[in-house]
């Protein structure tokens, strides 16, 4: 861990100015990911700009019938917010599936979007990793890749973006509001995180010096038919092997609209609109769900230890769709799979 300076930002403008002055600086929110990475010398900011006390901790209704979530809203506060529980239960459920209560109490909405991969090769500076040190190679390709991606990989990187919350945000078509040296802009969720390609060092499309100020949810919340199903190596406090977020609109036994996104399988929350389109207009039954799963996984590819994820994802998609269609979403308290 290197020696670093610590400053507290007084306003969004102050934060943006502070970071513009110092390219080696970083924002710190809950610190649950950044501080770990600093201890491991993976991140070496010379200055931390603390944004945790900015007034970005509100959850507000929008004129369009959606919600605007401040970047500093803690994961716990968001998960148990009455409006989220009532109107966007899939988001509430996804957050509760992640990390531990203590971590969720600290973790922020903005920080959750920007958490980095848990790939062991990324975390250990003695090992090669193109994401950490471009050009050093990918240790995971021929190494321990049980947790790694099966979709959207590149020869440079097979790391997974580990967030649960973002799987729900992806299927809810959230938008990310950012503020930066060139002013404010909004990024569609699907365009926020990136696939690794030749530049795995870039996790997302945030520009240098930009700060997340809020995440906005449109009105559609799929509160009646949803599920967030997370499959992991122990029953809590483990990153997803595969997770599936589902939101359905069902009328007369038929699916009117479907949203489907996966976690633990790619460098970003993996939403598949083709599979969603294939579900729309269909009866809610297993054959239809299986078809959708086959579409999602048509290009899936394993790297040895993680080959099982393809079949696991298929079964998890079918199960999550079944749970959502039946109105029996996966509980995050009782770990029995519904």
């Amino acid at each position: 861990m290197i020696n670093f300076q610590y400053v507290r930002a007084n306003s969004i403008a102050d934060a943006v100015n502070l970071i513009a002055d110092d390219p080696a600086a970083k924002f710190v929110a809950g610190g649950t990911n950044l501080i770990d990475l600093m201890k491991m010398d993976v991140e070496q900011p010379t200055k931390l700009i603390d944004i945790s006390r900015l007034a970005l901790d509100k959850v507000e209704d929008t004129a369009e019938g959606g919600l605007r979530i401040g970047a500093m809203v803690r994961n716990s506060d968001l998960a148990y917010h009455p409006a989220v529980e009532a109107r966007y239960p899939v988001l509430s459920s996804a957050i509760r599936a992640g990390a531990s209560q203590q971590l969720r109490n600290m973790a922020s909405t903005g920080g959750n979007l920007l958490q980095r991969t848990r790939c062991a090769y990324f975390y250990d500076i003695a090992l090669p990793c193109n994401k950490r040190t471009p050009g050093s190679g990918c240790g995971a390709l021929a190494g321990h890749n049980r947790m790694h991606a099966i979709l959207g990989t590149s020869d440079a990187c097979i790391a997974v973006f580990p967030s649960d919350m973002c799987v729900a945000l992806a299927l809810l078509e959230a938008r990310v509001h950012v503020s930066g040296p060139n002013g404010a802009r909004t990024i569609a969720f699907d365009a926020f995180h990136r696939l690794p390609g030749e530049t795995p060092q870039r996790d997302n499309n945030l520009e240098p010096g930009e700060m997340i100020v809020a995440v906005e949810l449109p009105s559609a919340g799929f509160a009646s038919n949803y599920s967030y199903l997370k499959i992991r190596d122990r029953l809590s406090y483990a990153f997803a092997l595969v997770s599936v977020g589902v939101g359905l609109e069902i009328a007369d036994g038929r699916i009117k609209a479907a949203r489907l996104a996966l976690g633990g399988v790619a460098h970003k929350p993996w939403r598949d609109t083709r599979a969603e389109a294939a579900l729309a207009g269909q009866a809610a039954n297993e054959a239809v769900f299986r078809q959708a799963a086959d579409i999602v996984l048509r290009d899936a590819r394993g790297f040895g230890h993680n080959n099982f994820k393809i079949e696991l994802a298929r079964r998890a998609i079918i199960r999550a769709l079944t749970q959502a269609a039946n109105g029996t979403p996966q509980s995050q308290s009782n770990k029995k799979i519904a």
Binding site: L127, G143, I231, S236, L241, L312, K336
Partner: protein
């Protein structure tokens, strides 16, 4: 006054622990204390060709950077580094020379005014290596594994495979029903909550007081004297509390050498604390590849057992235990043979971890027994009963006590085993497959020589002192209970001193031998106190105990009382007043009775229920019953906690635990407790612990110890339940859900 022994006394150190008054090795301080940070090797094998510390030294607040090039003198002979429980070989010497023997090996120590500065400066040390080829994968050393040979002198044969009996090969070939299988347990790390740490304090007179996380303060003290050529008066080692050891602290670890090196180099007090990642450069449970062959008669009796094990150690020491002996011991079988080979890998030396050898070997044996039961179409519990042995099969001698049959009976009843449908995949609950499995557990009942000092003061308080450790198991509490009963005093009048090398002799805290050793030790010394009190009481004019012999009095309610006539009594206060003594001090060594004619073991029967999502393979261990036969239970609360902990650990062994090594780089890739999985609350459901009655006269108090027995067999019971639920036999641990999907 009711006896304390056998009751659920709460921990006497509980308040100190929850209020933070209990101090651990990294919490002791001294004026001008310095902080040190370890630089760890990033290659697996080779040499350091250059180590540049200039950037680290240039950081303000850094006092020194110790490396093999500038460290103070250390001993040059292996003998100096051999601790009380060292295996054969050449012990690792931190910062001794330029050789790298395992990845993560400490290679430099940065000492600074603050821990943050030390850690920062440590990241600036530049190291160049000459790398050599290495192997860290046991499967790549399988063929090259070296047989463990029985030494010429049988008294040194502690861990060599037992002598074979009969002709196992022939019996196996002729067996009506045979099962043969290979079972694998990966490397596991102890992961105690408390990080390894040492605080070496330079006292004003130049002597050293070293607070070290260890399971044996005298072992460390002796070791430091050897390594640094110190006189035993020059160094005292303390460890009053320990946040979990599980065997990882039986041998000296490198933090203590480094702290003392730095303290001697600077003549200042120094603290070294490992990071969680560095904890994975310590010892570990050796990976184990086992082939078990069982030959049975149609009636379900065993005729042959063959157990072939490969375990992992380093290139420089041969650590192993008697891994193969458990299978030949547990069940009646006329023929048995064993083979044990060591795979030398470029890793640190493996070491003891809770129920060393039994946790792994009994897993394999009990999974194999389950497979044999299937082959025989016999209930798994019924098979165990048909093979039940009342005699130690190795030595053909009786047990001092063995209530395993009662464990089976009470455990099965509490679990409801009789309602089990033997057919795999036959029990369902919605989308879950339900499986019931069982297994047997076995461990040794040891006792070791120990010395206990008791000082009784006229106000009716007693201080009990012994250099043993309480590694979190409850030793303070049981010592206080035993002393209170033996001295006839209230629990609150007893104070316990331990974890200090200057106290009377104790072995390291391991093998489940401390409860029996120290309790009987207290009883012996308490008897001496009683005799001394009786001598004084007899001198009282008209003493009611004048003609009472020492065997005919007891201490109770603060009085010496005749066992025959309770009206004849003298209070401790009166007796001491008579002798005009303020304190009575006695110190006595207690040796275990020589009882070679009988075997001494603890046993258990474990029953487990799993529910597994048929499609997704997600496993929940919904119920476990563990019935334990372990002699007299000193404290039902701390004993239950020990067994609960063992069961939880066994569930983790079955489903979660695995140290993952990237064999291309020789580095552990899950060296943290987010990625190294142990069970969390959600994984643990209903666990019931039963202690069956087991009177035993191996020692006066009838104690067998139970630190280890709780984990033995649990992994097998869970694995067998997984088979019963799914019809899939997973023979390599952990049973992660992907192994059930295929």
């Amino acid at each position: 006054m009711a006896p304390y022994i056998g009751t659920a006394v709460s921990r006497v150190d509980g308040v100190a622990k929850v209020t933070g008054a209990a101090k651990y090795a990294a919490e002791f301080s001294a004026p001008g204390l310095l902080y040190a940070s370890i630089v760890s090797a990033t290659i697996t094998k080779g040499r350091i060709t250059r180590i540049d510390t200039s950037a680290a030294l240039a950081v303000e607040g850094v006092l020194t950077v110790l490396t093999h090039e500038n460290r103070p003198r250390m001993a040059d002979k292996d003998e100096a580094y051999k601790d009380e429980v060292a295996p054969d070989g050449s012990p690792f010497r931190p910062l001794y020379d330029d050789k790298i023997k395992f990845n993560g090996q400490p290679i430099a120590l940065v000492v600074a005014e603050r821990s943050e500065i030390a850690r920062f400066a440590a990241s600036l040390v530049v190291v160049e290596y000459g790398a050599a080829a290495y192997v860290t994968d046991v499967f790549r050393r399988r063929e090259a594994a070296v047989p463990v040979k029985a030494p010429a002198n049988p008294s040194e044969a502690l861990f060599a495979p037992p002598k074979p009996r009969g002709d196992a090969d022939r019996a196996l070939a002729a067996a009506a029903v045979r099962h043969e299988g290979e079972y694998y347990v990966p490397i596991e790390h102890h992961n105690p909550m408390e990080l390894y740490a040492a605080t070496a304090i330079v006292d004003p007179d130049g002597k050293l007081t070293v607070y070290d996380k260890t399971q044996g303060v005298q072992n460390i003290q002796h070791y430091l004297c050897g390594v640094f050529g110190l006189k035993s008066d020059d160094v005292k080692v303390m460890n009053p509390y320990m946040g979990g050891g599980f065997g990882s602290g039986l041998r000296p670890q490198f933090e203590v050498v480094l702290a003392v090196l730095a303290a001697r180099a600077l003549q200042r007090s120094v603290r070294v604390v490992l990071t969680r990642q560095q904890m994975y450069a310590l010892g570990y449970r050796p990976a184990m590849i086992q082939r078990i062959a069982l030959g049975a008669n149609r009636d379900g009796t065993l005729d042959a057992i063959s157990h072939d094990a490969i375990t992992v150690t380093s290139q420089y020491e041969d650590f192993y235990r008697q891994e193969t002996a458990w299978s030949g011991l547990l069940y009646t079988s006329a023929n048995a043979k064993y083979a044990h080979r060591l795979a030398h890998l470029d890793l640190a030396t493996s070491c003891d971890m809770r129920a060393p050898s039994a946790a792994t070997a009994v897993y394999a044996l009990e999974a194999a027994m389950d497979e044999l039961a299937v082959a025989l179409k016999l209930d798994p519990l019924e098979l165990r009963l048909r093979c039940y042995s009342d005699r130690d099969q190795h030595e053909d001698r009786p047990y001092s006590s063995k209530a395993l049959r009662e464990c089976y009976r009470q455990g099965a009843e509490a679990f409801g085993w009789s309602r089990r449908n033997p057919e795999p995949r036959s029990m369902r609950e919605g989308t879950d497959l339900v499986g019931w499995g069982m297994a047997t557990g076995v461990w040794d009942a040891f006792q070791a020589p120990i010395t206990v000092r008791i000082v009784l003061t006229a106000n009716g308080h007693a201080e009990v002192a012994c250099a043993t450790s309480d590694i979190g198991t409850g030793t303070y509490t049981i010592m206080a209970q035993v002393a209170a009963d033996m001295l006839g005093l209230p629990l609150d009048n007893i104070s316990i001193k331990l974890g200090d090398s200057s106290l009377p002799q104790s072995p390291v805290e391991g093998g489940s031998w401390i409860a029996a050793s120290v309790s009987n030790g207290i009883a012996t010394t308490a008897a001496r106190i009683r005799n001394e009190l009786l001598r004084l009481a007899k001198q009282m004019p008209g003493s009611p105990l004048a003609d009472v012999g020492s065997d005919d009095v007891a201490l109770a309610d603060g009085k010496l009382v005749s066992k025959r006539d309770s009206s004849r009594a003298v209070s401790i206060a009166d007796a001491m007043r008579q002798g005009a003594v303020e304190r009575i001090e006695q110190e006595e060594t207690t040796n275990p009775a020589q009882d070679e004619k009988r075997a001494h073991n603890t046993h258990s029967a474990i029953f487990a229920e799993v529910k597994i999502d048929e499609q997704l393979g997600v496993i929940r261990v919904t119920r476990v019953v563990s019935a334990i036969a372990a002699g007299r239970i000193l404290n039902t609360k701390t004993a239950t906690s020990q067994i609960l902990g063992g069961v939880v650990w066994g569930i983790g062994m079955a489903l979660h635990e695995e140290t993952q090594i990237d064999h291309t780089f020789g580095r552990i890739v899950n060296a943290n407790i987010a990625e190294y999985h142990v069970p969390v609350h959600a994984d643990i459901h209903d666990i019931k612990v039963i202690f069956v009655d087991e009177p035993d006269d191996s020692n006066p108090l009838g104690i067998k110890g139970l630190g280890e027995i709780g984990i033995v067999g649990v992994a097998a019971a869970v694995a067998n339940a997984v088979y019963h639920a799914t019809g899939k036999r997973v023979r390599d641990l952990p049973i992660s859900l992907d192994k059930l999907l295929a």
